[in-house]
């Protein structure tokens, strides 16, 4: 049996609905239609009344989920695209993220964000929002890079007592396949060594893990062994695993697909510099998308985001320093 990243998300939701009667899913076109990407295919038939079509109201979708969580439900909200979560931003960062801290009542909701770029999607169907949400206290931000994590992190997210922003990458939906799902993975908050190495560390998450691995494979031909760390969760950050890797390699490149100003890559580098300056043999570097909206045409799009080629170029500079 082989399973794609998207199918893993569907299977995780199936399993969450099966295991826990408190779970329901809410989003646009997710019922009988099965969702814009089919992440809820057949679920409304398998779990009648628990996979519900919503109006195009991201603010109210999230507000509704928060209210439902207060009353003991475990809602999963599907945003049709991560980009549209900006309309629900207020409920996410001001209502969901503050609820527990203000009232002592936990807010166990999961908001799924189909994230990241695919060719031809343009400025409003390609965004990566993890850095924005990570900025706010009270949210957990997960960024699965593998089929296994898409499945297990989503199931773990549903079980968590806190609001989770689940950034699933659309580029991985169909490309990424696994033969079978392992019975368990690392817990939320733990990073993973996706590829061991000793000459430099690349810290990446989501689709950028795969670009980084391809870059590492290319540099291997020149005799470099690049370690790739898959963050898995960008909040909390597993600083310990990252520092341990930098201790082995002495060099750090952090790669993210979101915009360059601030964000996850800046946060990782600031932590490594603060806590592991003595471990570094070269100034730590980061690579993000360009500082423009995300272009539509594939020629422009490929040049806008980090790719294996641009990661290789960046690593060569770092290795020569």
């Amino acid at each position: 049996m082989s399973l794609t990243y998207l199918e893993a998300i569907r299977e995780a939701q199936y399993e969450a609905l099966r295991r826990d009667p408190r779970v329901f899913i809410y989003g646009q076109d997710i019922g009988e239609f099965g969702g814009a990407f089919k992440a809820t295919k057949r679920l409304s038939a398998e779990f009648p009344g628990r996979v519900l079509d919503s109006p195009i109201s991201e603010d109210a979708m999230v507000g509704m989920a928060i209210g439902a969580a207060v009353e003991g439900s475990r809602p999963i909200v599907e945003m049709q695209f991560a980009d549209f979560s900006s309309v629900g931003f207020n409920q996410i960062v001001n209502q969901a993220a503050t609820l527990y801290w203000r009232t002592n009542v936990p807010c166990p909701i999961v908001i799924r964000l189909p994230s990241g770029g695919t060719p031809g999607s343009g400025p409003f169907h390609s965004q990566s929002m993890e850095s924005i949400y990570a900025h706010y206290p009270g949210l957990v931000i997960l960024t699965p890079a593998t089929v296994e994590d898409a499945y297990h992190l989503l199931l773990d997210a549903v079980e968590l007592e806190d609001p989770v922003i689940f950034c699933e990458h659309k580029f991985l939906y169909y490309h990424l396949k696994a033969d079978a799902l392992p019975t368990s993975t690392l817990p939320i908050g733990k990073a993973r060594i996706a590829r061991p190495g000793r000459h430099a560390t690349v810290v990446a998450y989501s689709a950028m893990v795969h670009e980084s691995i391809r870059a590492a494979e290319e540099l291997q031909q020149d005799g470099y062994q690049i370690e790739v760390v898959d963050m898995r969760s960008v909040k909390p950050i597993d600083t310990g695993t990252i520092l341990a890797s930098v201790a082995r390699t002495g060099r750090l490149l952090c790669v993210g697909e979101s915009f360059p100003w601030g964000g996850v890559t800046a946060e990782v580098i600031s932590r490594v510099v603060a806590d592991g300056f003595h471990l570094l043999d070269a100034p730590p570097q980061r690579l993000n998308s360009k500082d423009t909206p995300i272009p539509y045409h594939p020629n422009l799009w490929r040049a806008h985001r980090p790719t294996a080629a641009s990661i290789v170029a960046e690593l060569r500079k770092l290795l020569k320093f």
Binding site: R50, P55, M64, P75, Y100, R102, V140, T239
Partner: protein
Amino acid sequence: MTAARVLEEKLASLYRAGGRIVGGVYLGKGQEAFSVALGLQLSKGRDIFAGLIRDQAGKLAFGEPMLDATRTYLGSALGPMRGRDGNIHRGRPKEGLPAMISHLGSMVSVVAGMLMSRRLQGRLGDAVGASAIGDGGTSTGAFHEGLNLAAVEKLPLIIAVANNQYAYSTPNNRQFACANLVDRAKGYGVEGYEVDGKDLLACLQVFQHAISRARAGHGPQMVVGSLLRLGGHGEHDDASYIPDTIKHSEHGRDCLQLAEECALERGWATVTELAALRESSQKEVDRALAQTSREPSPDPYKESWRALATSALVDEEK
């Protein structure tokens, strides 16, 4: 009504005296009849009441302890918000009292979600949820999204619109262009009512009807009460932008005074009884404030400084 008025008068004087109240004070003077008529007819333990900034009267009637108000205003560590949030931003979500966030309009969908969850769990029964809003708050996208969603789901939601003619300093004619806010009900496919928000009996009747319609499964109900805020937006504001002609018009009459006059006229209470009510309210307020004053303030060294319920998930940044 009387207890809310006395409490708020006391909070205002504490605010003016300075020192004990940190942050602003926002009062419901002139809106007690509309608020209490709703709160009184909901029952805690079954229903949900998401009051906003001018709902002291409704919250007390619903069953929020007076101490919740004094503790939140004075920042007692023992209050429901424990110094983490203040004044009107308080609540006990598990007891049907969602704690409003400042962003107007955003509690509507939360109440809808609370009702949805109960329905999904098969324990909605004949509960209703009420969400208060002002004339200004109805202009938000969140209000529209929330009410539309509730209407689609045919949830037993009561929307209580207190149209006090102003949103902070902005008059109705800069806020919306429809002739009357209640006209919107039709557009949402919900039942709508208009009432003189100063008239306690009329408010009681209209909410009784709306609540029974919602309980009976007729979906959201929108009640628009017209009234005037008898004071500033908050105690920092002298409301000089409200023309005297409006203040001295029929709109500007005090609903508490009107209710007292009505009770006297109909022989439901005597002057002595009304005076006694005021006195007992005064005592209740004094007791709550005295108790709150003796309580500890939040201690930054004992504060957990953690925003997540999952204590194991700590971001390691120092």
